[in-house]
């Protein structure tokens, strides 16, 4: 009877972590994302300046010295893709963090307290959910672009904030339903009987038990934020040139598509690879935390 628990071998990971490691697709996603993060982090080792114009070398095809070729101003595309990746990934990560923080706070309070607090907090959630997010993203960015407070890093801060403002609602809904279910469990009751206060109950007892769906949602939010940033920048309402991002590189590439079609390939491919890796990780996490659900991918 004890043979299962005492099986010799390496220290056992939690069940969810083991399920994640068994998922090949999720691991491939994690590896790809790590590679992209490393490449982007060490971008400054490139011999080229991402904004270094050299008009004699416009539209060069890929070669050994310029693996992705050069763009309309003779800038090295690989270097720009890597530096652009810094911005795109930073926006994705920061917007996700902000959305998770706001969503957890609002959803957690709504689920924990219930009653009128719940109705008060879920009303704005419903309101924001009925906004057409792409349209409102564009409106907010046309209204606020150039605002001195938010204009740091080519408007990066502004884009982070408006993406987060329009994407915390799903987080809030998910956290709320987890909190609603967990607050009735016995261990919460026990902690309350010991005299734990609301804040401690929420942060130390309920939140750790709601972490699974929250992690899954966090990965999805990164994908959403990266797509939103590149979409906005592609339309010209996001991060402004000369700061490169994958989105505004695609916008430039479109102008010169007849002259050098390859310019439209690399930045988009990077967005695609990043998003698909993040989604694969999210899928793996979902399977890991919910043993009943399992997709056919990753087997």
């Amino acid at each position: 009877m004890t043979s299962v628990a005492q099986r010799p071998g390496p220290p056992r990971l939690p069940r969810s972590a083991r399920a994640f490691v068994r998922n090949r697709l999720a691991l491939a996603g994690l590896a790809t994302l790590t590679l992209i993060l490393l490449a982007v982090t060490f971008a400054h080792f490139s011999p080229y300046d991402p904004d270094g114009i050299s008009l004699r070398k416009r539209f060069e095809p890929p070669s050994l010295s310029h693996p992705f070729g050069t763009d309309d101003l003779g800038r090295d595309v690989l270097t720009r893709v890597l530096f652009g990746g810094r911005v795109s990934l930073a926006v994705g990560g920061l917007a996700m963090g902000l959305a998770i923080a706001v969503g957890t706070l609002i959803g957690g309070m709504a689920g924990y307290f219930g009653g009128w607090v719940d109705s008060l907090l879920m009303r704005p959630t419903d309101l924001f959910l009925s906004l057409p997010s792409l349209f409102v993203l564009i409106v907010l960015s046309t209204l606020l672009i150039g605002h001195p407070l938010l204009n740091a890093f080519g408007g990066m801060l502004l884009i982070v904030v408006i993406i987060a403002v329009l994407s915390w609602m799903t987080v809030a809904r998910i956290v709320r339903s987890s909190f609603l279910a967990i607050r009735e469990r016995e261990f919460v009751e026990a902690a309350r009987a010991y005299g734990a206060r609301h804040g401690r109950l929420m942060a130390r007892h309920i939140l750790p038990n709601a972490i699974g769906p929250l992690l899954v949602q966090a990965t999805l939010q990164v994908a959403v934020a990266i797509i939103a940033e590149s979409g906005l920048s592609y339309l010209g309402f996001g991060i402004q040139p000369p700061t490169a991002t994958w989105g505004n590189m695609l916008k430039d590439a479109q102008t010169y598509m007849t002259r050098q079609p390859l310019l439209a390939v690399f930045p988009g491919l990077m967005i695609f690879l990043t998003v698909i890796s993040v989604n694969a990780i999210g899928d793996g996490l979902r399977d890991a935390f919910d043993p009943r659900r399992s997709s056919s991918l990753g087997r």
């Binding site: 009303r123 419903d126 309101l127 009925s130 906004l131 057409p132 792409l134 349209f135 409102v136 564009i138 409106v139 907010l140 046309t142 209204l143 994908a223 797509i227 590149s230 979409g231 592609y234 339309l235 010209g236 309402f237 695609l250 590439a253 479109q254 598509m257 007849t258 079609p261 439209a264 390939v265 988009g268 967005i271 695609f272 998003v275 698909i276 989604n279 694969a280 899928d283 997709s295 056919s296 991918l297 087997r299």
Partner: protein
């Protein structure tokens, strides 16, 4: 049902009111007002501008101004476009049929592809066919739609050429060739790439959704009963399982209904399709706020209404659900 309907409508009303307040606040926050044009005109005296402002009620308390704006909105009056000077509603109504055509066709194609593919995938889970479908769907969900559009242009407009004329295989801009007669064929020709771009990602979502729903349904007891009493597999899959599996699909379609209005911003921008999305994009470039706010307000209202519609349709189709 009647009481539920009344309650849901009563709940939707404050949401619409809040939405209108939010949109109005955004409109107020936007730079410029109906008289900015006059302020730039050196031949007009400042006193006249102040007088005009008072006449038009621009000095009234904001609640009064909001009331006036909301009253006009309810009558379908969203003011005039700063760019063209035409009523905002006229601009929108001009573009709406084009978007409805594009999105409607794309939506029909999506369902025509996603339903059979999703069903076949679920009937033989983990088969080669299913693996290919699931992988493609996963890729389709991750590809940025604007990049997909650029790739379509790259392949079907720039790289491939029509074997008969030597021109591009498919047109990549507009609804018609300018130099040719506006025939149905010509229009269909121009629809191919934009529709493909839109369906590309929708098919991915719908197929994966239907596959999941179908898999769940196929493991239900009543499906086993249907098989046990000797029904042919076709009847089991299509009559017993698909009917039940498509119930959540109704909700999904309901929630996606506002797409008819707003779903094609990237597609219309990339393929110069004169619809709502392109109108919005161009108005944003020109900071034409009355148009932007009208589109946001109308789309939000449509979202609230189609949520309501989706719930009602679900309640109507599924007799197990009782709302009281």
């Amino acid at each position: 049902m009647g009481r539920y309907l009344t309650r849901r409508i009563l709940e939707a009303l404050p949401l619409l009111l809040l939405l209108s307040l939010l949109v109005y606040a955004l409109l107020q926050a936007s730079p410029g007002n109906p008289l900015s044009q006059l302020e730039r005109d050196p031949t007009i005296r400042p006193e006249d501008i102040t007088r005009r402002a008072a006449e038009r009620g621009l000095d009234d308390p904001w609640l009064v101004q909001y009331g006036r704006w909301a009253g006009a909105v309810l009558r379908g009056d969203f003011g005039t476009s700063l760019q063209t000077g035409r009523p905002v509603m006229t601009e929108i109504i001009d573009r709406l049929p084009n978007t409805a055509l594009l999105v409607g066709i794309a939506f029909a194609v999506t369902l025509l592809v996603a339903i059979p593919v999703g069903v076949l995938s679920a009937v033989r889970p983990y088969s080669t066919f299913d693996q290919v479908v699931t992988t493609l769907a996963f890729m389709g969900q991750s590809i940025p739609i604007f990049w997909f559009g650029l790739l379509l242009i790259l392949v079907f407009y720039l790289a491939l050429s029509n074997p008969f004329t030597g021109g591009p295989l498919f047109p990549a801009a507009g609804m018609f060739d300018i130099d040719r007669e506006r025939s149905l064929v010509n229009r269909a020709w121009h629809l191919v790439l934009p529709v493909t771009m839109l369906t590309g990602s929708w098919v991915a979502w719908y197929t994966r959704f239907l596959r999941g729903s179908m898999l769940e349904t196929l493991s239900q007891d009543y499906v086993r009963t249907a098989r046990a009493k000797g029904l042919p597999e076709r009847a089991v899959v299509y009559r017993h399982a698909l009917k039940n599996a498509s119930l959540p699909l109704v909700t999904l379609i309901g929630l996606d209904l506002p797409m008819i209005f707003s779903g094609a911003l990237f597609t219309e921008t990339i393929f110069s399709w004169p619809g709502m999305g392109r109108l919005f994009y161009q108005s944003a470039l020109r900071r034409d706020y009355p148009i932007l706010m009208a589109v946001v307000m109308l789309t939000s209202a449509l979202i609230v209404l189609s949520n309501l519609l989706a719930d009602l349709a679900y309640a109507y189709l599924d007799p197990r659900i009782r709302y009281d």
